[in-house]
């Protein structure tokens, strides 16, 4: 599976995965509860500054960020057309902040650190007989596939540009879905072979 993780160490690599997940949960909730642009804008600025502070380690994710920016611009444009510029601004600030937080997590967090957090959180269920290790792996893989999705999309978009000179856009959706399903099956095979599942 492809990944956005960067081995170029940053200050955020040293922050425990649990703290990062907690921060994402808290900030994400706060961003979606606050609907005043005057409060959201400083929060989004802090997130943007944190993202920029990671320097060159975010390079693998830059095209993803550009895509999110384009999507945000479309959302803002739509709201302006229907005369709801304020709601558009709030939506864009929320979308960009949440996305940047997710990208920062992916770029600076190792997968087994996330699994440690999930297993700790799921430990109470272990007493009830749930296979928490497998459950944690499943949750972690869900995040890994999100990363893989964007990296795979980038590669297919590159291939489309090389052959047509134009970005793939929505035309990539069907082949990308098929590719993701095939990857899911192959990864499941690899896990079954390695874990004896």
């Amino acid at each position: 599976m492809r990944s956005l993780y960067s081995d170029r160490r940053t200050w955020l690599h040293a922050v425990p995965a649990g703290a990062k997940l907690l921060a994402i949960a808290a900030l994400g909730t706060a961003f979606f509860m606050i609907d005043r642009p005057s409060w959201l804008a400083p929060g989004a600025s802090v997130v943007a500054i944190a993202f920029v502070s990671l320097g060159r380690s975010v390079r693998p994710a830059l095209r993803l960020v550009v895509s999110i920016t384009v999507a945000s611009a479309l959302v803002a444009g739509f709201h302006m057309v229907v005369g709801q510029a304020g709601i558009g601004l709030v939506s864009v600030l929320r979308l960009m902040s949440a996305s940047l937080l997710g990208v920062m997590l992916a770029v600076t967090t190792r997968f087994d650190e996330l699994l440690d957090v999930f297993e700790t959180l799921l430990r109470p269920f272990e007493r009830l007989g749930f296979p928490t290790g497998r459950l944690a792996l499943g949750l972690g893989l869900m995040l890994r596939f999100t990363e893989h999705f964007f990296v795979q999309w980038r590669r297919m978009d590159d291939a489309h540009r090389a052959r047509t000179g134009k970005p793939g856009g929505m035309a990539l959706l069907a082949p990308l879905t098929v590719r993701m399903l095939l990857t899911a099956r192959r990864v499941a095979d690899a896990l079954a072979a390695r874990l004896g599942g």
């Binding site: 599976m1 492809r2 990944s3 956005l4 993780y5 960067s6 081995d7 693998p60 190792r110 997968f111 087994d112 699994l115 440690d116 290790g133 893989l141 890994r144 990296v151 990857t183 192959r186 990864v187 095979d189 690899a190 896990l191 079954a192 072979a193 390695r194 874990l195 004896g196 599942g197």
Partner: protein
Amino acid sequence: MVSRDAAPRIRIDGVTLSRGTTTVFRGLSLALTERRIGLIGDNGAGKSSLFRLICGLDAPASGTVEVCGCDVRTGRARLPGLVGLMFQTPDDQIVFPTVVEELAFSLSPTGISRREARARARDFLAQRGLADWADRAVESLSQGQRQHVCLLAMLIAAPRVLLLDEPYASLDLPGQAVLAADIEQAGQQILVSTHVLEHVRHFERVIWIERGAVRADGEGAGVCAAYEADVRARGPRRSAGDPQPEASRHAQLV
């Protein structure tokens, strides 16, 4: 190291495997005891399907497959300790974003803690002079290096049998040389499926599979030469799936 005397044995007995409307194997039987066995044949001949059978990913419609006495259908939980499969594409096999995590994951069936597994993975890399690989992002590695990580992830789990599916397919010549040396040094029984015949020509046993059946089975040099002669006889546009001329059929060794 697995000694020659304790050589693991793969027994495939009367196996029939179907996929959709296609019968991949019909009554296939093989006893695989040699330390190094090559699998050759055209694309679609059944090499990868044979590997999937041996590591329990595909279940036969009839017949049995045993690895070191363990029935792969009923003993799935024991299989990771007995047999490891290296897939054709490293990206399908590598789940974790860094090398040390990927290697440590291979130790998870042993039940040791993740911290302990990471420590062992670092030691394992250091023993091979690859300590600086531990924290590297897999994404930053070349294709050959990723292939190497896949092999290391299998070796650290120390299964008794390694199945390598087209391991040379995407490697440059230096990468092929490194992988061939790794295979040479490994103590396990190793089965290699490949189109790069140079890497199996010296093997004590090579099996040529054609349309789900054993076309030739014997010492590497002879079987590889027979396969090459058959490909030459078929000409540039024909595959083994097409009807074959009599002369070519007579090249069959078994």
